[in-house]
Symmetry: C2
Subunit: 223 residues, 2 copies
Amino acid sequence: MTFIDRPLVGENKISDATVRRLSLYYRSLKYAYDRGMRTISSQELADMNNLTAAQVRKDLSFFGAFGRRGLGYYVADLQRNIARIIGINKTWNVALVGAGNIGRALLDYDQFRQQGFLIKVLFDNDPTKIGKTFQGLEVKDFGNVAEEIKQNKIKIAIIAVPAQFAQSVVDRLIGCKVRAVLNFAPITLQVPENIWVRNENMAIEIEALSFALTNRRDPTRTI
Amino acid sequence: MTFIDRPLVGENKISDATVRRLSLYYRSLKYAYDRGMRTISSQELADMNNLTAAQVRKDLSFFGAFGRRGLGYYVADLQRNIARIIGINKTWNVALVGAGNIGRALLDYDQFRQQGFLIKVLFDNDPTKIGKTFQGLEVKDFGNVAEEIKQNKIKIAIIAVPAQFAQSVVDRLIGCKVRAVLNFAPITLQVPENIWVRNENMAIEIEALSFALTNRRDPTRTI
DNA sequence: AATTGTGAACCTCTTCACAGCT
DNA sequence: AGCTGTGAAGAGGTTCACAATT
């Protein structure tokens, strides 16, 4: 059955790791459906992501009882449910701050668009960039951030500016009622309790590989 | 004192979370040194990264006793030690597969270069791209991957190709003795036990923000 | 007086194992 | 017979609290 029988907020705490895995399951279900699978077992979902079947069932069980004993999960049904749980059953307008290399690459990043994250405004503070157009989107002056954010009803912003500017950018965004930030700057942002930040630090990931090759004997896998 | 008094391999298991935090400490130490700080306490390092002082001390203690009671840590000394632990006290030659938007953005990503990850070869399989030059690097035919990898003594590769090609690319790279992979394709790669993979999935991060805004009341911070 | 290094306590996440359902 | 859902057990990671050191 397709209902959520538990509260998702407050003291009922869904771990970060579980949330990340939901995204993996969502992709696996898409993949499975495209290949004609109409039901899928926790074991199959686990195998596709190098996890255990118990882990998959436990993760899903936090949100409801989506499966059928003896059968597994209906692929389309579970996919819809996960989309709703993650909040990608609708679109999100997103602001992107920073029209440098990373920013411009993200403008054309299919995975965002496909999951309903639509980059609606592109900001920079460089006068030589303001007014230019990338991927059909005009670079706006970050000085006018407030009105653009409001006009586009933006709750999620992506920060792709050099480290030294990132904190002031996030402060300004929060002042404009932005609630969540995907941060590509290699610095830990200080934000109030009610603001969400995820850091995308590619150097940290490659450094973890360096550490592994330098020190470790046996590999472990991570998301 | 600056020595490592514990084995870093085998049953002595350093958690992934600790390794990621080492990278954060390394950046914080750089920042602190640039601002003239010569010693730093675990509390200061913690504050810079929204962690606890105990966490910082515990992480460092896995590798040795680097601090001085009553004083803290010598900034330059600790930075050097962490660089050596992570394995970024030398340079790594890196191969980049995929000359699309993401790949080209990474070519010019300062954080890689600064930490000694040098992209030495750029591959693609698109005949319209092969032979072109981006950031001074000529796109090579992925068909010739073996010789280029060998010539450049490459152990770490970055995969920035569409999802459907990622598995065959990684299989091929492993055949060329590549030991570690930073994967930007939104798919779980299947690799042998002795190969290291880190996934950089930007859609997963933004989906975590969507989940938070959709479901959660109280923010938590993550790396 | 200040701060580290660390065993122990605590907490969180994962895995086990099996009852319960189809 | 097959597979889920879940309480309990187990493993792993974080925080506490304090002795040790400068």
